[in-house]
């Protein structure tokens, strides 16, 4: 029973999973018998569950298992021994991680290679972030991944023909920092693969942003930061923009 005199969603879900203790289950069942609101929620879950079993599961289980069982980027990194190449965290105040790939500025979020000749046939550059949980385990950080203070992130660049890379992050307080080359004044030459170093996430919480700025020529960090800070596009660059959320701790 929750503070509002009804069964909470968790209680209803646990009852459905047959995960309540017998006495708790009995109390919940009794409430369901006498409460139309909770009964409605229960019936909805039962009906959705039948739909899932009858239609959704058979249609989707193949893809779900293949996505989870097939080799992931992280497995490949492990295979290549990247796990042992982690260097100690560097003292960067805020750290960075990921999300969807969007092209900055006034351009639409489409393939960033469209109007830049140097990317050529190699396609668009990509930038990935791999997080090492403070609680153990690694994951590739995606759009909606929630990270926590103490987690570490590493970057994997795929420049697709671009020669230089500058990685800029904006922490939840709004300050811009250069993460690669660390505190650098200019873009650094880049090769495909993991960038050296890993970053430990600090205690600040909120949404943080990250930009991987690929270019054919080395760019001045200050000019890039000014453009990004003002929400403008960076001339002569292919920008992969990412954002992620940092929250206090896991459940």
């Amino acid at each position: 029973m929750n503070a509002r005199g009804h069964l909470s969603a968790e209680t209803i879900d646990l009852l459905h999973l047959a995960a309540l203790k017998p006495d708790q289950a009995a109390v919940a069942q009794k409430h369901l018998e006498g409460c139309a609101a909770c009964r409605g929620r229960w019936d909805e879950l039962v009906s959705d569950s039948q739909k899932f079993a009858q239609y959704v599961y058979p249609r989707t289980v193949g893809e779900v298992t293949s996505r989870l069982v097939n080799t992931s980027l992280i497995d490949r990194l492990r295979l290549w021994g990247f796990g042992r190449m982690l260097v100690p965290a560097v003292g960067v105040a805020a750290a960075a991680a990921i999300a969807g790939v969007v092209v900055l500025g006034n351009r639409a979020p489409v393939n960033p290679a469209v109007d830049d000749g140097y990317v050529g046939i190699k396609g668009a550059p990509t930038f990935k972030v791999v997080a090492q949980r403070v609680s153990g385990g690694q994951l590739e950080v995606k759009n909606d991944t929630v990270l926590h203070p103490g987690d570490r992130v590493r970057f994997v660049a795929q420049p697709a023909g671009a020669r230089f890379l500058l990685v800029v992050g904006k922490d939840s307080r709004g300050s811009l920092n250069v993460y690669h080359p660390l505190d650098g004044q200019k873009s650094a030459e880049v090769k495909a693969g993991e960038l050296p170093g890993s970053f430990e996430l600090d205690d600040s919480v909120g949404t943080e942003q990250l930009w991987a700025v690929y270019s054919a020529e080395a760019l001045e960090a200050q000019a890039v930061k000014s453009a990004l800070g003002a929400g403008q596009s960076v001339p002569g660059a292919q920008v992969v923009a990412l954002s992620y959320r940092k929250e206090a701790k896991g459940p």
């Binding site: 909470s8 968790e10 999973l17 899932f52 079993a53 779900v64 069982v69």
Partner: protein
């Protein structure tokens, strides 16, 4: 990879077990069977590692609530749906979020107008009917923060509805 068959079995068992809860939440939030089906797969793929590592069902559910809420809210934002006509604010809305139960559809409409940081707590509390402690656990924030965000959500929603009525 060795053990591929065992792994397949484990993934499909967990999908069969937790898929219904994920699907039901996604349907409730997205109000569309096809979108809910896609969302169920995406959420399960993201939550699988956490479910595997969870000590019990309640811990697994906390991850499911967090990840499915964030995923569905992102979907809703990305669809940038047209604003739907507002319904009347129910009578029982008072000064404190405790004891209140907003109509689910109205709550979802209000959620879409709320700032990002208020959305997940409001969905979990008003749409799902989780308790404040469970919302705090699912989102990894303090109960105090949950209460503050729910209060802010209610106060903004009241102002919004008052403006709409004026």
């Amino acid at each position: 990879m060795s053990g591929g068959v065992d792994r397949n079995g484990k993934v499909s068992d967990l999908y069969r077990k937790y898929g219904p809860v994920i699907y039901s939440r996604c349907r409730r939030l997205l109000k569309d069977d096809a979108l809910a089906e896609d969302a169920t797969q995406e959420v399960f793929v993201r939550v699988m590692r956490h479910i595997e590592a969870a000590p019990d069902d309640a811990a697994a559910l906390a991850w499911i609530y967090r990840i499915s809420t964030n995923y569905c809210l992102n979907q809703i934002r990305d669809r940038s749906r047209q604003a739907e006509p507002m319904e009347e604010l129910p009578e029982q809305v008072g000064e404190h979020p405790e004891g209140e139960m907003l109509d689910r559809d109205l709550a979802m409409q209000l959620v879409q107008r709320a700032p990002e940081n208020l959305r997940a707590p409001a969905v979990l509390y008003y749409v799902d009917g989780l308790e404040q402690e469970q919302v705090a656990k699912a989102l990894g924030i303090s109960r105090r923060t949950v209460i503050n965000r729910l209060n802010e959500f209610m106060s903004r929603s009241r102002k919004f509805l008052a403006r709409g009525a004026a």
